[in-house]
Symmetry: C2
Subunit: 365 residues, 2 copies
Amino acid sequence: MTDFGRTTLPYCSFVRPGDDRPRVGIGVGTDVMDVTDRSELFAGGTLDRLLAAGPDGWHDVREAANRWVDEPGARAHVVPAADVELRLPFAVADYVDFYASEHHATNVGRILRPDGDALPASWKHLPIGYHGRSGTVVVSGTPVRRPHGQTRAADGTIGFGPTQRLDLEAEIGFVVGAPSCPGEPVPVGAFADHVFGICVVNDWSARDIQAWETVPLGPFLGKSFATSVSPWVVPLASLAGARVDPPERSVELLPYLRDEEPWGLDLELVVTLNGEQISRPPFAAMYWTGAQMLAHLTVNGASLRTGDLFASGTVSGPSPDEVGSLLERGAGFLADGDCITISASARLADGHRIALGEVDGRITT
Amino acid sequence: MTDFGRTTLPYCSFVRPGDDRPRVGIGVGTDVMDVTDRSELFAGGTLDRLLAAGPDGWHDVREAANRWVDEPGARAHVVPAADVELRLPFAVADYVDFYASEHHATNVGRILRPDGDALPASWKHLPIGYHGRSGTVVVSGTPVRRPHGQTRAADGTIGFGPTQRLDLEAEIGFVVGAPSCPGEPVPVGAFADHVFGICVVNDWSARDIQAWETVPLGPFLGKSFATSVSPWVVPLASLAGARVDPPERSVELLPYLRDEEPWGLDLELVVTLNGEQISRPPFAAMYWTGAQMLAHLTVNGASLRTGDLFASGTVSGPSPDEVGSLLERGAGFLADGDCITISASARLADGHRIALGEVDGRITT
């Protein structure tokens, strides 16, 4: 249960017990304030209309939300988050996953290519990414069924069965609100004009299925069975105090990728396995920022739609207790019944730390 | 302009001149029969509701369409296809592209890996595929803007600019109607329970952008700028007479991929560049069938949604005049102003050939 404090004001979609109609809520402390009837933007019961409203709409609603929380009678609209069912907050249009942590990419490269370069040749020149399956993005709490698939053993034998190397990937997702036009790249400086906010992502991965299928067209069934997201979308507006410079770049970037404003974010993820904390990946160590990912994603003229979700890729820090996947941890993979929770918080420039929500999932057969 | 004959009865979404409301049409000869008001399934003006209706609904509507075409007064509902604007026929959910032609994969492998194995190790064991960008799937006739992007020259110089190696890929797309449940693979035998029909696809590709970005996560910006589809969706029901055995399999397949009924399709694609025919790719030569692609796509438990589109990958035959891409043809790439048209037809067991529609696009700057 996330305690959001008073200033974050994240959004969710929820249903009350015994009522199937989805509603829009704002997180205040450990409660959900029902704001469905406060704005036409919430009438659909999901965040879709709010996302589409664009920066001015986002600003106006956030200003209003600040008033709603403080007005007399506000308690009448509040219900404990524990008493409602949180739903997938928005309709996911396209889902893209990046590979933006140098520590993660290096760790994985050393494992998969012990005799070669750890980083792919293009890695420092562009944020590598690929499209995933938006239809299997599920909300936190949805059980994750262990996928079956085709694998090849070290001796070359082709096998089929439940994955034996089921992994998590702790990530941050960026939620696109305002669409863009075909043929018109979104520059790094326009990041906040299009991206509404962030969520926490677990990009579940079956390493044995992925290894066999991945050459030459990349991950497919090793990823497409499920991607879990937190039910809360935290507006970028509440993260202004968490913006930091990204790590120093060791290669000169093409103009379209050059940082203008600092869009590094001082976030900390915490990964727990069956209640035991196993890692604390630091998002501030990410080589590529969300603004750079978005600029790259659109530089070929690909347009954005409301509801596009792009995730950072696994967040790993330099230390062994900061890795965002079990592959890097080297201590085995997920068993049936295991429960993974990834929570995130932001450290603001004033020293405060604010909660950003969490995503959890339990492995079933 | 496709002449559909009397028995194909493909579906489209269109608007009449001066009227923005989308309508559903059935292709008869070179005309569109407006059936919008004939069924609640067409009330939305796109094929979305029809797709969701499932096999019984598809059957009933097709039976009815056969009556509508012949009934007195039918001409009152007909307008020449040339007089309407054909729209994207359905909302694309997830878009997946396969790599199912052995001739294409071998040709490409020889070009990209002249000293290695032409086919990737897994190629004969599973239909290799990846997710593409559904938000940039556009209808035939939409201009295709030459994408800009990052490339690396042979001397290692990183450059940026308009692609110099813009290519087409002639493909067939399969349109999913009936959804499936998470965790429940769709067996090869259930292909026609979920797939409503086919369309013609041009999966535009920027080879220089693709080459630099593609290791290790596969194609991304080299493909995501645009994928064009024909405005007509041809029901599988009209292709019963075109079903043939797929090529002999040289490797024993895992049970989930074994052919039950023959789902090879005797289709011929014709590619024209600025009106000149440059290739006739034969779809019957495809190694993997649509039924196998679907079984593989879902074997990990990934669910299907109405509107999912999966394409075959480039269709190439054994002969140089049967290749489905310019890369394989070896005679240069697309220039600004070039227009590519890909049409498809099916040869039925009774010797008749039926038209399946076409997809075209012109390159702009």
